[in-house]
C-alpha cells in the first residue's frame, strides 16, 4: 500500500493549523482561529477559482479536523466528491474519508458519489477498489445496499480479485446484509462463498467466516455445506503449530480469531451427520482441550487470553453438540480448574459455562463434583458478578440429593448477600426448596427461615406459594401452624411472616389450639400484637383471620368482636379496613354459628398451575431459567418427586392483591344501602368487574317503567341465553326485584346460588321462590334446596338462597324458578328458567390430533352426528369463537385441524349414570359468512341438542 506521507503530501498547512489550535489558551481563542480558517477555506472554495488536487485535499482535511473538533461543517462536500475522481491514492483516500464521515445518506450528492464508487470498484487497481468498498461499508445505507448488492458479491467470488479485495468485499457485504437483511438473497452465490473457507489467505477466510455466520443465520439451508469445510479448516488450524501460520499467529496461538469464528459458525448447525466429519470435529475439540493442559508458551496475558477464548468457544460448541459425554466431562473438568484461577474474568466465564453444562445430562454429575468449590466461591469471591454466577450455578446443579445442603448454603449466604441479587436468590431458594422438598416440614422451615432472613426481598408470590402448598397438603398443616406460631413469637418479625402467620393460623389455628401455650386467646393476642405495625393490606388480612378465629374458636368471640368494633377499625381512614371491620363484626353478631361455618369454610385446595415464582424468575432472567427447565423436563420423566404426587397447587390468584386470597367474592349477607344495582356490586368483586357490567347498563336504562311482563320476559330470555357460556350474572331484573345467579358445577353435581335483591324501599312480603321441573326433567335431575327460601325481603336488602343439583342422566331444557311476592299489597309472580343446562355438566378434554381423528371416526354412524349449516349472526372471529366454546365447556384443541380458521373441540358430559363424549368441529366460510357446525357424540340426542344450542350463538 502506498504510504500516506510521501514527500510533497505532508500538508504543512494542516500541521500548522492543528498546532495553532493545540496552542490556543482558551475556548474563545480556538473558535476564533477556526472561524478564520473556515473563512479562508470558503474564500478558496469560491466557485470561480480552480484548485489543484493537493490544496483541495489539504482543505478538505482541515474541514474534517474542524468537524471532529465538534463544529458544524456545511460546505466542502462538492470538493470532497471531486477528490474521488483523482488518480492519486491519498487524494482519493481523503475524499472517501470525508464522505464516510460527513455526507448524510440523504444528501443530493449521493448519486454522484455512487457513480464515483462504481468507477472505482471496477478499477484495475486493488487499492482503489478497497477504498470504494470501505466507503460503501462505512456509509452502509439502504441506498448503498441497493446500488451495490449485486456488485460486491461478484468481487467476492471473482477469480482475479486480489486477497485484500476479497477480504474487504466480504466485510462490506456483511455490512450491507446487516442493513437490509431481507432485500438480498445470495443463494446463487452460496456454494462459491462457502468455498472461501478453503482460501489460501487466512485474512479472506477470517472475513468470510463472519459473512457466512450471518448468512447462515438468515438462510441456514443454503449454507449447510459450510459445516464440513469449517471443520476441516478448523482441524488444520488446531493441528498446526504456531510457526505454520506466521502472520496469523497471535502470541503463539494460531489464528485465534478465526478459530473462534469457526467454532461459532458450527454452533449454528446441528452436529454433522457424516461420521467422518463428526469424528474430525470431535478430534479438533479434543485437541483444543489437550492444548490447554500444555504448559503456556508465554507468560503474557495476551497468550492466555487468546488460548482461553478458543477454549471457551470450543466448550460452547461442546455444550451445543451435547452428545459427547467424554468431551462434556473433560470440558467440565477443565472449567473446574478455572474455578480457582486468579483471573476474575476466567472464574466468571467458568461459572457461566458450567451453568450450561449443568443442564446437560452427561455432564451434570461432573458439574456436581465442584459443589464445594462453588459454595466456597460464593463465600469468598470479591466480585459481585462472579458471586451472582455462583448462585446461578448452584441453582442449576441442585438436585434431590444435594438440595438440602445447597439450600442451606444459599440461606446462610443470603444474610450477607448483595442487595442487588437478594430478591433473585430468594426466588431461587423458594423454587428449589419447593421442587426438591422431600418432606414438607423441611419446606415450611426453609421458607419461614427465608422470610426471617430476607423478609424485604420475599415477594408476594413466594409467600402466596407457601400458603397454597400448606393448604393443599393435609399433613403439613399442623406442623406449619406450629412453626408459624413459634416464629411469630420472635419480638420483631417481618411483615411477610405476619401475613403467612395470619393466614395459616386463621385456617389451621385450631390444629394447635389444644396446647396450653398456643390456646386460641394466645394465638389471637400474638397476632394482634403485630397488627399495629403492619401496612393496611396486612391488616386487612389479619381482620379476615380474626373473623376466621370467631368461627374456629367461639370462646374468644367476644374479645375479637371488641377489636373489630373498636373505633380504630370502624372509623379507619382506609376504606378497605373500615369495610372489613364493619362487615365482619356484623357477620359475627347477626349470623348463627353454622352460617358462619359455611361462609368461613376451610379454603378449598388450589387448582394446579405453573409455579408463579418460576414465572417471576423467568421474567427477571430469561436466560438462566432455561437450564432449569431442561432439568424440569427430565424430572418429569424420572420418578416423581413430591411435587407430582402431592397434586401441588400451582396457583396464585390471578390478581396479586392479597384481598382475593381469602375468596371474598362470596359475599357476606350484610345489608347494603345501594339503591339500584345492588347485585351488581356483589358480583363485581375486585377481580371480575367486567362481566356483570353490560347487564347493569341494560338494567339501568330499562328500569324506568318496564311493568310490561312481556318485555320483562324477553329480557330475561336474553339474559338467560348468556348463561350458556358463563356461570354467574344477573338472571332477571325489573323495577322491583333483581335476581342474580352464581353457579358452580363439578362433574355431575352443582350448586346454584340465587341472590334476590329488593330494589324498592319497601318490604317485599310473602316472598317465595321455588324451583320446579317440567315433566321431561323428572328423574333426570335431582334438586334439593339447601335451606328454606326466605319469606320476605326488606327494602333495599338482598337475600340469598342456595340450591344443590345432581344430574342423574342426560336431559334437555332446564328447571324453572317461580318467584312470588307481594309489593304494595299487589301479588306478583315471575317464572324464570334456571341456567342449569346440560352443557354445564360438560368438561373439556385435551387430546392429541391422532386421538381426535380416531374417535371422530369411531363416532361415524349417521345417528351420532348432527350437522348444521347456518348464517353467521356475529362477525366471524376465531378468537371470540374460541372463547365461546371454552365457556360452553368444550376444550378447544389446537393444531388438530390443518386449516387454522377451523375450530375443533371436545368434551365429556358427566352425569351420575353415564359419561357421554362429544366432539365438535366448526368451519367458518368467511366469504359467505356461513358456518358449518358438526357435532358427534356417542349419544345422538346429545349431539343434536348441543348443535341446536350453539347454532344461534355464532
Amino acid at each position: 500500500m502506498p504510504t500516506v506521507s510521501s514527500r510533497g503530501d505532508a500538508m504543512r498547512g494542516l500541521a500548522v493549523f492543528i498546532s495553532d489550535i493545540r496552542n490556543c489558551k482558551s475556548k474563545e481563542a480556538e473558535s476564533k482561529r477556526i472561524n478564520k480558517e473556515l473563512a479562508n477555506i470558503r474564500s478558496k472554495f469560491k466557485g470561480d477559482k480552480t484548485l489543484d488536487g493537493y490544496s483541495k485535499k489539504k482543505y478538505v482535511c482541515k474541514l474534517l479536523f474542524i468537524f471532529l473538533l465538534g463544529h458544524d461543517i456545511d460546505f466542502g462536500h462538492m470538493e470532497a466528491v471531486n477528490l474521488l475522481s483523482s488518480n492519486k491514492y491519498t487524494e482519493k483516500q481523503i475524499g472517501y474519508l470525508f464522505i464516510s464521515v460527513l455526507v448524510s445518506s440523504n444528501s443530493d450528492l449521493m448519486k454522484l458519489i455512487i457513480q464515483n464508487i462504481k468507477n472505482d470498484i471496477s478499477s484495475p487497481k486493488p487499492v482503489h477498489v478497497n477504498l470504494a468498498l470501505h466507503c460503501i461499508a462505512n456509509i452502509g445505507s439502504a441506498e448503498m445496499s441497493e446500488a451495490f448488492g449485486q456488485e460486491v458479491p461478484k468481487l467476492l467470488v471473482s477469480a482475479h480479485a486480489s486477497e485484500s479485495v476479497k477480504q474487504s468485499a466480504a466485510l462490506c457485504l456483511l455490512r450491507l446484509i446487516r442493513t437490509l437483511p431481507d432485500a438480498m438473497t445470495y443463494a446463487e452465490w452460496a456454494s462459491r462463498v462457502i468455498h472461501l473457507l478453503n482460501d489460501q489467505h487466512m485474512g479472506v477466510v477470517t472475513s468470510a467466516a463472519s459473512l457466512i455466520h450471518t448468512l447462515s443465520q438468515l438462510s441456514p439451508g443454503d449454507y449447510k455445506g459450510c459445516v464440513s469445510l469449517a471443520v476441516s479448516r478448523l482441524s488444520r488450524i488446531v493441528t498446526s503449530t504456531y510457526t505454520d501460520l506466521q502472520d496469523y499467529t497471535y502470541y503463539f496461538v494460531p489464528a485465534p480469531w478465526l478459530s473462534v469464528k469457526l467454532l461459532r459458525l458450527l454452533q449454528c448447525y446441528p452436529v454433522p451427520e457424516e461420521p467422518a466429519v463428526r469424528g474430525r470435529l470431535v478430534e479438533c475439540l479434543e485437541t483444543i482441550l489437550n492444548k490447554c493442559q500444555e504448559p503456556p508458551k508465554s507468560k503474557k496475558v495476551q497468550h492466555s487470553n487468546s488460548k482461553n477464548a478458543v477454549l471457551f468457544e470450543a466448550i460452547n460448541l461442546i455444550i451445543h453438540i451435547d452428545s459427547e459425554p467424554n468431551l462434556l466431562v473433560r470440558a467440565c473438568n477443565q472449567l473446574g480448574q478455572f474455578l480457582q484461577h486468579r483471573e476474575t474474568n476466567l472464574r466468571y466465564l467458568a461459572l457461566e459455562s458450567m451453568c450450561l453444562l449443568a443442564g446437560s445430562e452427561f455432564s451434570a454429575d461432573a458439574v456436581k463434583k465442584h459443589r464445594e468449590t462453588v459454595i466456597n466461591a460464593l463465600k469468598t469471591e470479591r466480585d459481585v458478578s462472579v458471586r451472582q454466577r455462583a448462585v446461578d450455578l448452584l441453582y442449576a446443579m441442585c438436585d434431590k440429593t444435594n438440595s438440602e445442603e445447597i439450600v442451606a448454603e444459599m440461606l446462610a449466604y443470603l444474610k450477607k448477600a448483595d442487595y442487588a441479587i437478594r430478591e433473585e436468590m430468594v426466588l431461587k431458594v423458594a423454587i428449589l426448596s419447593e421442587k426438591y422438598a422431600s418432606d414438607y416440614t423441611w419446606y415450611v422451615d426453609t421458607i419461614l427461615q427465608l422470610i426471617r432472613v430476607a423478609g424485604d426481598y420475599v415477594s408476594e408470590e413466594v409467600w402466596h406459594r407457601v400458603i397454597q402448598i400448606v393448604i393443599n397438603r393435609d399433613d403439613a398443616q399442623g406442623y406449619a401452624a406450629k412453626t408459624v406460631f413459634e416464629n411469630l413469637q420472635a419480638p420483631a418479625c417481618h411483615e411477610n411472616m405476619v401475613k403467612v402467620g395470619g393466614y395459616i393460623l386463621g385456617e389451621f389455628g385450631n390444629l394447635i389450639a389444644g396446647d396450653e401455650r398456643s390456646s386460641p386467646l394466645v394465638q389471637f393476642n400474638l397476632l394482634h400484637s403485630k397488627f399495629h405495625l403492619c401496612t393496611p393490606s396486612t391488616r386487612a388480612l389479619l381482620l379476615s383471620t380474626y373473623i376466621k378465629f370467631i368461627n374456629l374458636f367461639p370462646e374468644i368471640k367476644q374479645t375479637i368482636q371488641n377489636v373489630l368494633q373498636n373505633d380504630n377499625q370502624l372509623r379507619n381512614a382506609d376504606v378497605e379496613l373500615q369495610q372489613r371491620a364493619l362487615e365482619y363484626s356484623q357477620l359475627s353478631s347477626i349470623t348463627s354459628q353454622d352460617v358462619l361455618a359455611t361462609v368461613l369454610e376451610e379454603m378449598p385446595p388450589f387448582p394446579e398451575r405453573e409455579s408463579s415464582i418460576l414465572a417471576k424468575l423467568k421474567k427477571k432472567k430469561p436466560a438462566s431459567v432455561q437450564a432449569i427447565e431442561k432439568e424440569e423436563e427430565k424430572m418429569k420423566k424420572s420418578p416423581p418427586s413430591i411435587e407430582n404426587h402431592v397434586n401441588v397447587p400451582k396457583e396464585v390468584p390471578a390478581n396479586t392483591n392479597s384481598v382475593d386470597l381469602l375468596g371474598l367474592s362470596t359475599p357476606p349477607a350484610t345489608p347494603q344501602q345501594s339503591t339500584n344495582s345492588l347485585l351488581v356490586d356483589v358480583f363485581g368483586s375486585v377481580d371480575q368487574p367486567v362481566a356483570p357490567k353490560p347487564e347493569s347498563n341494560i338494567s339501568k336504562s330499562e328500569t324506568a317503567g318496564s311493568v310490561d311482563p312481556e318485555a320483562a320476559q324477553n329480557k330475561s330470555n336474553l339474559l338467560f341465553s348468556r348463561f350458556l357460556f358463563k356461570n354467574s350474572g344477573v338472571l332477571f331484573e325489573n323495577n322491583l326485584i333483581q335476581v342474580g345467579v352464581k353457579c358452580e358445577f363439578k362433574e355431575h353435581t352443582g350448586r346454584v346460588g340465587l341472590f334476590f335483591g329488593n330494589k324498592t324501599g319497601n318490604q317485599l312480603q310473602n316472598f317465595s321462590a321455588s324451583v320446579s321441573m317440567g315433566a321431561d326433567l323428572q328423574g333426570k335431575v335431582n334438586i334439593a334446596p339447601q335451606k328454606e327460601a326466605p319469606t320476605q325481603i326488606d327494602g333495599g336488602a338482598q337475600v340469598q338462597h342456595f340450591v344443590n343439583l345432581e344430574c342423574i342422566t342426560f336431559f334437555s331444557g332446564s328447571p324453572n324458578l317461580q318467584l312470588r311476592y307481594q309489593h304494595a299489597s299487589t301479588p306478583q309472580q315471575v317464572t324464570l328458567k334456571l341456567p342449569v343446562i346440560i352443557n354445564k355438566f360438560m368438561e373439556g378434554t385435551n387430546m392429541p390430533a391422532a386421538d381426535f381423528f380416531n374417535r371422530w371416526k369411531q363416532l361415524g354412524q349417521p345417528v351420532q352426528e348432527t350437522q348444521k349449516i347456518f348464517q353467521a349472526n356475529h362477525p366471524i372471529d376465531t378468537e371470540a369463537a374460541k372463547t365461546k366454546l371454552t365457556g360452553f365447556g368444550m376444550s378447544v384443541l389446537i393444531n388438530v385441524d390443518p386449516n387454522p380458521d377451523n375450530l375443533v373441540g371436545s368434551g365429556i358430559v358427566k352425569t351420575k349414570t353415564s359419561q357421554i363424549g362429544c366432539l365438535l368441529r366448526l368451519e367458518p366460510n368467511k366469504e359467505a359468512k356461513m358456518y358449518r357446525l358438526t357435532v358427534r357424540s356417542s349419544v345422538g340426542e346429545v349431539a343434536a341438542l348441543l348443535c341446536t344450542m350453539l347454532e344461534e350463538h355464532f
Binding site: K25, R33, N35, K36, N40, R42, F45, K46, D74, F75
Partner: protein, 443 residues
C-alpha cells in the same frame, strides 16, 4: 455562609484554595473542576449544586473565581462579595490573570484572611484594606520603598479606626489643596428594531468620587432627581417643576456607598456623607425613561443573488453639534458561509474580520448631528444544508461626553466645622462620560 474560596486558571488547575469552614472538604475543588470547568456542555448557570454543595462562580479573563458553601446563603450577597474581591485584587495588583495571581500568592492569602472571617464577609473596601494590608502588589514594588514603613503611631490608629463608627476614613488627614473630583459614568443599553423602534433601553450609571479633603468634612450632594426636586418645590412654592427651569430625571433604583447616611436620605431625600479618602463609588443608579440615545443605526440588508448580499448601514449622531463622540466601533455580523467581503466607507476604517464573523467599522471621533455611511458586498458560498442565517443584531461601541440619562450634578457642598476652610475654598471638578453597554440594532 461561604465555606471556601477557590481560584482556578483556565485549565482548571487550582491557584488559590482557602477553606473557611469544616463542612467543605478538600475534594470540593475537584468537584467544581470536573462538573463545571471541564464539563462537556458549557455551564451557563453561575450557581451549580453538586452533592448538596453550592458553587458560585464568576470568570474574569481566564481566571475562575468560585465560592463554595453547604448552607443556604444569600446568592446575591455571595456574588456581591466575589465582585468586591475582584475589585480589591485589581486595585492591589492590576489585571487579574494567572501570572499576577501566582506572583501575589502571599498578598491574596492575606486579603482572604481579612475579607472573610469564618465565612462571613468583613471589610471589603479597598481604601480601608490598604490601611492595614500594607503589602503592595508586586507591580508597584518601588512605590512601597518610597512610602516607607508605617510608624507605630499609625498602626495603633488603624485599630481604633477600623473598629470605630466611621470605618472608611481615618482622622487627621491633611491636604494643602482641598480638591474633589466627581465623575458621572454611564453605560447605555439599547435594543432597536430595524424600523427604528426602541425595544428596550436603559442606562446603568455610577457616580464616582475622588476626594482630597482635610479633616472630617461633611458633604452634601445634589442632583436633578425628580423626587428630590419635587420635594424641594413643594417646600418652597407649590408651582410645578417648570419654575426651577431645569428638567429632572426619574431614577428607577439606586444604591449608595456605606458612607451615605441612609436615614437622612429616607427622610429628606438628601444625600449627605463623610467621604472616604481617595477614590470611591458614591452611588449607583439605573434609569429607563427619557434616555437620549446618542446614536441611531439604520441597517439595510438586501439579498442580491443566491451567493451575494448587500449591506448598507447609516449611523446618525444625535446630540449637540459642539460635542464629540469618541472610540466609535460598529460591528456588522456576516453570514457563516461568507467567502469574501468588499467594504466601502466614507469615514473611518472598516475591515472584515473572519475570525469574528463580522465587519468591524471604526471611527476615531464624530461630532453631533452628523451622518455617516458604510456599504458592503458579501459573497456567499453555497452550503450543503439550507440553514437560515439567524441575523444577529448590529452592535456599536462609543464614548460620549455627556450623561445619556440626563443626570446633572446640581451641587456638592462641603462643610468642615473644625478646620477653617469652607465650601468655596474647595476645588471641584465634574465630568460626564457616557459609554455604550449593549447597544444593538436588529437588521
Amino acid at each position: 455562609m461561604i465555606g471556601g474560596l477557590f481560584l482556578y486558571n483556565h485549565k482548571g488547575e487550582v491557584l488559590i484554595s482557602r477553606i473557611y469552614r469544616d463542612d467543605i472538604g478538600r475534594n470540593a475543588c475537584d468537584a467544581f473542576r470536573v462538573n463545571v470547568i471541564h464539563a462537556r456542555q458549557h455551564v451557563r448557570s453561575p450557581v451549580t449544586n453538586i452533592a448538596r454543595t453550592s458553587f458560585f462562580h464568576t470568570k474574569r479573563g481566564n481566571i475562575w473565581l468560585c465560592a463554595v458553601t453547604k448552607q443556604n446563603v444569600n446568592a446575591v450577597m455571595v456574588f456581591e462579595f466575589l465582585m468586591k474581591m475582584i475589585e480589591v485584587m485589581q486595585s492591589y495588583f492590576g489585571k487579574i490573570n494567572e501570572e499576577n495571581i501566582k506572583n501575589n500568592f502571599v498578598l491574596i492569602y492575606e486579603l482572604l484572611d481579612e475579607v472573610l472571617d469564618f465565612g462571613y464577609p468583613q471589610k471589603t473596601d479597598t481604601g480601608i484594606l490598604k490601611t492595614f494590608i500594607t503589602q503592595q502588589g508586586i507591580k508597584t514594588q518601588i512605590e512601597t520603598i518610597l512610602n516607607g514603613p508605617k510608624t507605630k503611631e499609625e498602626t495603633t490608629q488603624i485599630t481604633s479606626q477600623v473598629t470605630g463608627q466611621i470605618g472608611w476614613r481615618r482622622e487627621g488627614i491633611k491636604y494643602r489643596r482641598n480638591e474633589l473630583f466627581l465623575d458621572v459614568l454611564e453605560s447605555v443599553n439599547l435594543l432597536m428594531s430595524p424600523q427604528g423602534q426602541v425595544l428596550s433601553a436603559h442606562v446603568a450609571g455610577r457616580v464616582v468620587m475622588k476626594s482630597f479633603l482635610s479633616g472630617m468634612p461633611e458633604c452634601k450632594f445634589g442632583m436633578n432627581d425628580k423626587l428630590v426636586l419635587d420635594k424641594g418645590n413643594k417646600a418652597t412654592d407649590d408651582l410645578s417643576k417648570n419654575s426651577s427651569g431645569k428638567p429632572s430625571i426619574a431614577i428607577d433604583d439606586c444604591t449608595f456607598h456605606q458612607c451615605v447616611k441612609l436615614s437622612k436620605f429616607e427622610s429628606e431625600r438628601s444625600i449627605s456623607f463623610i467621604p472616604a479618602d481617595g477614590e470611591f463609588e458614591l452611588m449607583r443608579y439605573r434609569t429607563t425613561k427619557d434616555i437620549s440615545l446618542p446614536f441611531r443605526v439604520i441597517p439595510l440588508v438586501r439579498d442580491i443573488a443566491r451567493s451575494k448580499m448587500e449591506v448598507k448601514v447609516v449611523v446618525k449622531s444625535n446630540f449637540k453639534p459642539t460635542l464629540l463622540a469618541q472610540k466609535i466601533e460598529i460591528r456588522i455580523p456576516t453570514p457563516l458561509n461568507t467567502s469574501g467581503v468588499q467594504v466601502l466607507c466614507m469615514k473611518g476604517k472598516a475591515k472584515y474580520k473572519a475570525s469574528e464573523n463580522a465587519i468591524v467599522w471604526k471611527m476615531k471621533r464624530m461630532a453631533g448631528m452628523k451622518e455617516s455611511q458604510i456599504s458592503a458586498e458579501i459573497e456567499l458560498l453555497p452550503t450543503a444544508e439550507k440553514k437560515k442565517w439567524s441575523r444577529p443584531p448590529i452592535s456599536m461601541n462609543f464614548e460620549v461626553p455627556f450623561a445619556p440619562s440626563g443626570l446633572k450634578v446640581r451641587y456638592l457642598k462641603v462643610f468642615e466645622p473644625k478646620l477653617n476652610y469652607n465650601d468655596h475654598d474647595v476645588i471641584k471638578w465634574v465630568r460626564y462620560i457616557g459609554k455604550s453597554g449593549l447597544y444593538e440594532t436588529r437588521c
